[in-house]
């Protein structure tokens, strides 16, 4: 049961082979057994989950169930969920119980009838690429417990990789769905900016943040995206477009598909073993009838510096609301208003969050704004233009998701720049607002390697198609850590 796809689970529930309560119990029991070692979940509430499972069983019984009703899912702890502690991986919100549901939660929970198993660990306020910045301790990579699962959606990735959940939600600001998917052998999709509502998703960098699914396969991701996406009047950056079935093109043959290979993604800086797996995957695509074409993204080397101006700038402002006045952490002793602010924020935020707030405040400050913030916005435009040009000669862009496989816990924690370079291939996609995926494409020294697929705006169905056909021809995505049973 734990290896079944979402479609198969849906069929099993519909056929009454298993009830949602039984299925939920099965995963809750796995969490109880394996989570102490993996630390993928920060909050589990058995009673709450089972109550929802019972409601799902009722829907299945009375014929009002949808394709995902009764299937358990793990929620990244960045999504506010009514009655659930919602921490965003921070001491600042360790005691915050949300009084409302994020749109994504409402859609998955209320509309699709999925059962939340709990809230997953993450880098604090989604700032990190290793899950080591979480106030609740690092998450262990199920493939090697001495290694990181990637981040910031590391808890979601580890949960699905260890089959503590059939699927999970994630968010991606600079690679936070795709990089952990790559490091944990999952399929993860970051949709076009504006496809998934950001309402109730705690903001890191508003112009880059986008929620998306993390699961075992492209097919699972397509079903989840169907349930998560859609216009939301409560999010002004949500896009008003007709609803689409992201699974509609899954089976389309790939003959004639033009794959663009940016020379900037195939140069130095990538682990050769990772590159070998990526090349082998491209060979597989050629066998499936696709052709490859060289393209260039000449400004991609500027994406990391531009990102580390724009994202901290927005974050420095987004995180101002965590001031100890209305909710969340407040320092116990203070002797003035300013003292309360300073102590609360000094004690409530971790080092990486403080670093980014400082960077952000700096680049927005008087006299530096033009040189940093405006300049970064100009670069952002150039990077987006590069993609527009590249998509004139190809349908999908491919390359490695991450320059390396999962690294050791603590290995990069002391070197922020080294850590930031983990996202060197993923960040440009966020800056341009494009959809991107990572799919399992092989192993290097026993560790998973991810292949990144980048599509044009709103090309999610095409990306999912390319990923699905590859997964029909390969079995990388079916593998799971041998010692996880």
């Amino acid at each position: 049961m734990i290896d079944k796809s979402l479609k198969q689970l849906g069929q099993a529930l519909a056929a009454k082979e298993i009830s949602s309560v039984e299925l939920t119990t099965l995963f809750l029991d796995r969490i109880a057994r394996l989570n102490p070692e993996i630390n993928a979940f920060v909050t589990v509430d058995r009673d709450k989950s089972l109550a929802v499972a019972r409601a799902a069983d009722a829907r299945i019984a009375n014929g009002t169930a949808g394709p995902l009703t009764g299937i358990p899912i793990a929620q990244k702890d960045i999504f506010c969920a009514e009655g659930w502690t919602t921490t965003c991986g921070s001491k600042m919100l360790a005691n915050f119980v949300s009084p409302y549901d994020a749109t994504v939660i409402a859609k998955l929970h209320r509309e699709a009838g999925m059962v939340s198993l709990g809230k997953t660990n993450m880098d604090e306020f989604a700032m990190g690429s290793s899950n080591e910045t979480s106030y609740f301790g690092p998450v262990k990579n199920p493939w090697d417990r001495a290694r990181v699962p990637g981040g910031s959606s590391g808890g979601s990735a580890a949960a699905v990789a260890a089959r503590l959940a059939p699927a999970a939600t994630g968010t991606d600001t600079g690679g936070s769905i795709r990089q952990p998917a790559a490091l944990c052998n999952l399929t993860g999709l970051k949709p076009t900016y504006g496809v998934v509502s950001r309402y109730g998703m705690i903001a890191f960098a508003s112009s880059l943040d986008q929620g998306g699914p993390m699961a075992a396969s492209a097919e699972d991701c397509a079903l989840l995206l169907n349930a998560m996406s859609g216009f939301d009047e409560r999010d002004s950056t949500s896009l008003q477009r007709p609803a689409e079935d992201y699974a509609r093109d899954l089976e389309k043959p790939l003959a004639g598909l033009r794959i663009g290979l940016p020379k900037e993604f195939f140069g130095d800086g990538c682990d050769p073993a990772v590159m070998a797996a990526v090349q082998a995957a491209l060979d597989e695509y050629r066998k499936l009838g696709a052709t490859t074409v060289d393209v260039s993204l000449p400004n991609s080397h500027l994406s990391v510096p531009a990102y580390y101006v724009i994202a901290p700038a927005e974050a420095s402002s987004n995180l101002s609301r965590f001031d100890g006045v209305r909710y969340g952490y407040r320092a116990p002793d203070y002797d003035s208003l300013d003292d309360m602010y300073m102590k609360t924020r000094a004690q409530g935020f971790g080092a990486e969050v403080k670093r980014r707030i400082l960077i952000g405040a700096y680049v927005l400050s008087h006299g530096y704004y033009d040189a940093y913030y405006l300049q970064a916005q100009r670069i952002r435009r150039l990077i987006a233009d590069d993609f527009v040009a590249a998509f004139k000669s190809c349908d999908v862009i491919m390359g490695p998701t991450s320059p390396s496989t999962a690294f050791k816990l603590g290995e990069r924690a002391a070197d922020p720049v080294q850590m930031y370079l983990s996202d060197i291939y993923t960040i440009a996609v966020n800056l341009a607002g494009l959809p991107g995926m990572s799919i399992p494409c092989g192993f290097a020294d026993g560790l998973p390697v991810g292949l990144q697929l980048i599509g044009d705006y709103f090309a999610e169905a095409r990306l999912l198609n390319a990923a699905h056909r590859f997964q029909q021809a390969t079995d990388w995505h079916r593998r799971r850590p041998a010692d996880i049973v």
Partner: protein
């Protein structure tokens, strides 16, 4: 001795009269229990997002059209970042580089009577932003309470060029602006509740000097009197400082109405770096010409248009027309009076219009002015129907002018006594009192003739004087007739009959 010139610019925060907040669906009503009108968005819970209220934009467009400004096709909401407990997000959503209303001007009447002059004040801009909550420092035993009901209330911040040269000009501008925002229905103008608050930027310079002096900004003036007093004090203080050899340093100051002085709030060195940047949660505000057209269609007559119409349709002088357009209500009132003063079958003519205008300007405005700043300008003690009816009865000859004035005053006092909870008197009451008190004018020619004969017989001296060419004697005779008639004889008829008899 140096002659000083005062330079004043004004920033006004007008709360927009929308039902819900600028970026959330919570109510904007004033006076609710603290924090009962603050939703998740207003409280800045984690994850919430702003959604622009189009009604607030409608208000900005209205204002732009009313002052002949450019309504920007594209404007941008930015974040103004600073920490304060009544600012839940840690930033205020405002407009900075690209405001929604750009330019425009307001022409105002300064002074009164013969010394009145017209002055045009240019506006720099008007932009949309959200109001903050309120800190409550009382009743919390050494702690502060926060009420976020006001947080997110839409504001239009209206900024002038430094065009004013005296506190009188500043007050004339503020009054005209106040009347205008109410006129176009975008702000209730309630200054006690903080719906309309002014900041004044004040500097002085030697007459003839081209560059401006260093300015100080007086914050949060919520009455016209305080605006005047604060500026006058500040000007006096600045001149004194300079004459004593000290330099003015740029600063923000507060006005203390009790002492009548301004005091330093913060110097320029302490000023925040607000780290403005475009709010990534909101798309640029794009206003199409169709949108502007829809708003325009919904707007009623603007002050200048109505002033021209009053001159054209009622035959009023430019001065009277402008006095009747100092605010929306007074002009409406005037039109109401004219309508109700018409005798049956009559059409509006210049005689009637001038009579009504004189009454509204001299009697009604005088009474309103007695009430001072705080009195809402739509709260008239006597309704336009009642005043119109009084004038109608007067024009019909039923009552004399003196009686009309007495009844009007009596009615107004009645309203004042009940604190303007309702109007004094009503048209029916006019007729009733005329009847019960016997106020009817004597218009019967025979009756008046008898009175005239009586007076002529009793006052041969006056008659002789008149016949000898003394015009004054005529007036004395009129006075005698009125006296005998207990003031109720129709003066016109008395005049005519007297003339006839004396000539005969």
């Amino acid at each position: 001795m140096t002659q000083w010139e005062v330079v004043i610019g004004i920033e006004t925060h007008a709360q927009l009269a929308t039902v819900s907040k600028i970026f959330s669906g919570a109510s904007t009503a004033f006076g609710a229990e603290p924090n009962t009108q603050a939703c998740a968005v207003d409280l800045a819970l984690p994850g919430v997002l702003p959604v622009l209220n189009r009604k607030a934009v409608d208000c900005a467009i209205r204002f732009g059209l009313a002052i002949g400004a450019r309504v920007a096709e594209k404007s941008v909401f930015e974040r103004k970042n600073y920490f304060y407990p009544d600012l839940p997000k840690g930033y205020q959503i405002s407009q900075f580089e690209l405001p929604v209303v750009q330019g425009g001007s307001l022409t105002v009447q300064v002074g009164s009577g013969d010394k009145t002059y017209e002055k045009t004040i240019n506006l720099t801009r008007a932009h949309l932003e959200e109001d903050a909550g309120k800190s409550l420092h009382e009743d919390f035993h050494g702690k502060s309470g926060i009420d976020l009901n006001r947080a997110g209330t839409p504001l239009l911040e209206i900024v002038t060029e430094p065009d004013m040269r005296s506190s009188d000009e500043a007050v004339a501008y503020a009054r005209a602006l106040h009347a205008l925002v109410r006129w176009i229905g975008i702000c209730d103008g309630n200054m006690q509740e903080g719906s309309f608050r002014c900041d004044a930027n004040v500097s002085v310079r030697p007459k003839g000097q081209a560059e401006f002096g260093t300015r100080r900004e007086i914050k949060n003036l919520n009455s016209f009197r305080f605006l005047k007093e604060a500026i006058d004090y500040e000007v006096h203080w600045q001149i004194n400082e300079i004459e004593e050899g000290r330099k003015i340093r740029q600063a923000t100051v507060l006005f203390d109405p009790d002492s009548g002085e301004t005091r330093m709030m913060r110097s320029k060195e302490d000023a925040h770096d607000y780290r403005y940047f475009p709010d990534p949660d909101l798309l640029p505000l794009v206003i199409s010409s169709e949108w502007i057209g829809e708003v325009k269609e919904d707007m009623w007559e603007l002050p200048n248009d109505r002033k021209s119409r009053f001159e054209r349709e009622y035959g009023l002088s430019s001065y009277d027309a402008s006095l009747l357009n100092t605010n929306y209500d007074i002009g409406n009132y005037f039109e109401g009076v004219v309508l109700h003063a018409l005798v049956s079958g009559e059409r509006i003519g210049t005689e009637l219009s001038k009579l009504a205008a004189n009454w509204v300007i001299n009697e009604v405005s005088a009474k309103m002015n007695q009430e001072g700043d705080g009195h809402p300008m739509w709260k008239f003690g006597v309704s336009s129907e009642t005043l119109g009816h009084l004038l109608r009865r007067m024009r019909e000859g039923v009552i004399g002018a003196k009686t009309a004035k007495e009844l009007f005053t009596e009615f107004w006092e009645e309203a004042r006594a009940n604190n303007y909870a309702h109007h004094g008197g009503h048209p029916g009451k006019v007729d009733e009192l005329v009847e019960t008190r016997g106020l009817k004018q004597i218009s019967d020619t025979g009756a008046i003739e008898a009175l005239v004969d009586e007076v002529l017989t009793a006052n041969p001296g006056n008659v002789a004087e008149f016949k000898a060419g003394k015009e004054k004697a005529f007036n004395a005779l009129v006075g005698q007739v009125m006296k005998v008639a207990k003031g109720k004889a129709n003066p016109q008829q008395v005049n005519e009959l007297l003339k006839k008899k004396l000539a005969g």
